[in-house]
């Protein structure tokens, strides 16, 4: 089994908030993150599989690049996570929730090939979501 990782960068704006709470309640719960702000995200996507006996590749990287452009950049790059996507109506776009949303989108597109994702919100903060059971 081989694992390979491809990265993609994108930028988005967001704010933490729950629809059923008032502005003041959201601010008390989430602090400064309740105001609209933005991040330069880096997503590292790790696939797993056996190399094809003919091509020697687990996946064609240009296909993976196109898939990430479509599934990730197409949905999130230079968008507002709250206003432009349907994923954060019930729970705020924390890095944990965002990583989980991305993992589910990519699992739908890649199936068993997907090992996991690492979403970096900045240099000092990242979230890993790994398929279970984790396999080497």
């Amino acid at each position: 089994m081989i694992r390979l990782t491809r990265a993609i960068d994108f930028s988005a704006s967001l704010r933490y908030g729950r629809a059923e709470l008032s502005e003041a309640q959201n601010r008390a719960l989430f602090g400064r993150a309740a105001s609209q702000h933005g991040h330069n995200y880096r997503l590292e996507v790790t696939l797993r599989g056996e190399p094809d006996p003919v091509t020697g590749m687990v996946v064609d990287l240009k296909d993976l690049k196109a898939l990430l452009e479509r599934e990730i950049a197409g949905r999130f790059d230079h968008r507002d996570l709250n206003r432009d996507t349907p994923y954060f109506e019930k729970s705020p776009p924390t890095p944990e929730n965002f990583a989980r949303v991305i993992f589910e989108l990519l699992r739908a597109a890649l199936g068993e090939l997907l090992h996991g994702v690492r979403l970096r919100q900045d240099e000092d903060l990242w979230v890993d979501v790994v398929a279970e059971p984790a396999r080497l």
Binding site: L29, P92, E96, N97, L125, V127
Partner: protein, 138 residues
């Protein structure tokens, strides 16, 4: 499985010398790190927590809480200090291995006591070339 990792930094000094060893043996074991005058590093500390997401906050642990714990228990304690003078290292040489273990032992119970998350691992980056990890048996 979901894990969140936060990176912290603290500069600190240490001297690697064991009182159980002679000068010559210390020199052999630790080389230039045995310099009695000391030397130092900009340590990076990567703290990883896991658990179940709190559906209300969408977080494993409130980041301010994690930051406060690491600041109180580790960064404020070790930053800009000679590690040999800290009680964590009264009976242990402050190698990166022992620093990593001390941080793991200090943070694990605190994270468990103050949140629903648990500490998965700590990684101490001593230099660009050397890093040290301690974590749950996996």
């Amino acid at each position: 499985m979901i894990e969140l990792t936060r990176r912290y930094r603290f500069p600190a000094a240490h001297v690697l010398r064991s009182p159980a060893l002679s000068d010559a043996e210390n020199q052999l074991a630790y080389g230039k790190c045995a310099n009695p005058a000391g030397h130092g590093h900009d340590y990076g500390l990567e703290v990883t927590v896991g658990g179940r997401l709190d559906e209300r906050s969408g977080a494993l642990i409130p980041l301010e809480r994690l930051d406060a714990l690491v600041r109180e228990l580790v960064v404020d304690r070790l930053s800009h200090r000679l590690l040999n003078e800290d009680s964590w290292f009264a009976a242990a040489v402050p190698t990166a291995e022992n620093i990593t273990l001390a941080v793991w032992r200090a943070l694990g119970p605190a994270v468990a006591a103050e949140s629903r998350a648990h500490l998965v691992r700590v990684r101490l980056v001593e230099t660009r070339r050397n890093s040290f990890e301690c974590g749950e048996a996996s």
